[in-house]
Amino acid sequence: MRENVLKVENVTMQFGGVIAVDNMNLLVNEKEIVSLIGPNGAGKTTAFNVITGVYAPTNGAVYFRGQKIVENHPQGKMRKLYKGENNGKYTGVLSPTPDRITSLGIARTFQNIRLWKSQTVFDNVLIAKHLRRTSNLFTATFHLNGAEEARMRRETEELLEILELSDVRDELATSLPYGKQRRLEIARAMATKPSLLLLDEPAAGMNPQETDELTAFIGRLRDEFGLTIFMIEHHMDLVMEISDRIYVLDFGKGIAEGVPEEIQNNPRVIEAYLGGAIDE
């Protein structure tokens, strides 16, 4: 049995009177490609935001490789929880801030592209390399980290090469067409050296040809780079072609789970969502 990478346990996220995610449970195993689908407003992005620590959930917990990274306790309680284990060392994140979760090896892209606007394509990826630095403020300022800096730049070039963005490396990130911006977001996420990649609608706004390329590329990410992938996507062709398993969310509730064939034939899913989409 493969190790489970991500486990979401009874997560509920409530904003005032609105329950965006209602008692969600899901599992993503090592080197799987798992998709999360559902109609607009079903709570998919909220689920991502809970996993990456943007929101602290109203209830429930999230585990990454068996280690609890997010839970609903207020911070004070959480601090205590971690302090007791392993002779007072913090075994996990102290509070679920997104940067700490990223440093554990979870990286994400954004549905409404959030590239650094005034930076070039190259710098967008290079900046994300900052996380894995070994230099400190002093050595970095006085440029005593030449070897590391050179390595960062080399790895950035490699990533741009892989995502076929080398030709636009000196362009401003926001001047790129939509499809390339999405690819750049993936490149940037990969620069943080994740083992789990969360993709939020990676094919949104892409034409059919770009979508096909993306489908192939996501497969490569798993096969060549050994990444586990969890993604939100509306493009059913893409989802059905590459997903190992699919979770379906409707009004914040998980309504179905299974391999693509099961989902395609699940009456509840068809009723909630696919009914419209199949007609396309």
Partner: protein, 300 residues
């Protein structure tokens, strides 16, 4: 009775100056509610109102100069918005804030030029500058009427916002700027109206304030302005009752510092002015949205 007559003036002064801060604070809180802008120039509008009074009263009778002060101050407030903020409607927030600081700098330098850098003596306004006795404590009548006048003006303002059409437009604009624009609200007239009301209250505030602190200098508006802003933040920015409560708390606490100063061995009167900022840092740390503010979450 002796104890009362010794300590009461501090409390009265606190309530009074609190009312004056409240009148300034409403200008901040309304502008912030709609434009999300700290109008750094608002304190200087208040100062300009004081200067106009100085010059107006020198050449015309009081019953003319008081309305003139109010009209001219409102006009300046309106013009500042049209000239310095309106062109920057689509610009980043930082640019508008810098423009506000620029206006503040300009008004101060203009005042410096006109006054020649000398402190100007504020005129005695008949009746409100008279001395009265309250429980054996002597004070100016303005001290007593300020809180009442403030509360009356605030009630009128709240009625205006709740009952009239322009008030409804203001509420809509402060809830959601873009949508209210799409719904056909003339956003520019709403914003102008906000500045007109804010400047009007600042002008009234300056009449009351300078009747007590009778010297007008180019930088006199800075500190009351900042304190009024703190009051607005303390009460929850965007909330008019919040600004009122916040201003009274700051005014009273400041004067309590002065009261306490009588009883401690070392001099703490300097900290009167620092109090508001200490309060600001504390409130922002524990409840960044203020007493009556609404919670906001960033959308990712």
């Amino acid at each position: 009775m002796d104890w009362l007559s010794r300590n009461l003036p501090y409390l009265l002064a606190g309530i009074s100056v609190g009312g004056q801060y409240a009148l300034i604070a409403i200008g901040y809180t309304m502008v912030y509610g709609i434009l999300r802008l700290i109008n750094f120039a608002h304190g200087d509008i208040f100062m300009v109102a004081g200067l106009i009074m100085v010059y107006a009263s020198a050449s015309m009778p009081m019953y003319l100069s008081i309305p003139l002060v109010i009209v001219v101050t409102v006009l300046i407030g309106f013009l500042v918005e049209r000239v310095a903020y309106k062109p920057l409607r689509q610009a980043p927030r930082m640019s508008v804030m810098i423009s506000a600081i620029g206006v503040s700098y300009l008004l101060q330098n203009l005042a410096l030029y006109i006054t020649g850098g000398l402190a100007q003596q504020y005129p005695q306004i008949p009746w409100i500058s008279d001395q009265v006795l309250v429980f054996g404590a002597s004070t100016k009548r303005v001290t007593v009427i300020t809180p009442f006048l403030t509360v009356v003006l605030v009630i009128l303002l709240v009625l205006l916002i709740k009952k009239t059409k322009i008030g409804m437009a203001m509420r809509a604009a402060s809830k959601d700027f873009e949508t209210s624009q799409l719904m056909g609200i003339k956003i520019n007239s709403v914003i102008s109206m906000t500045f007109i009301i804010g400047s009007f209250l600042a002008a009234v505030g300056s009449l009351l304030f300078f009747s007590n602190y009778t010297s007008v200098t180019p930088t006199v508006g800075t500190l009351p302005g900042l304190k009024a802003f703190v009051a607005a933040v303390f009460g929850g920015i965007g909330s008019i009752p919040g600004a009122l409560v916040g201003a009274f708390i700051i005014g009273i606490c400041e004067n309590l510092v002065m009261l306490l100063n009588q009883y401690v061995s070392f001099d703490i009167s300097n900290f009167k002015d620092a109090f508001a900022f200490a309060l600001l840092i504390i409130i922002l740390f524990f409840k960044p949205t203020g007493l009556f503010g609404e919670k906001q979450t960033d959308k990712v």
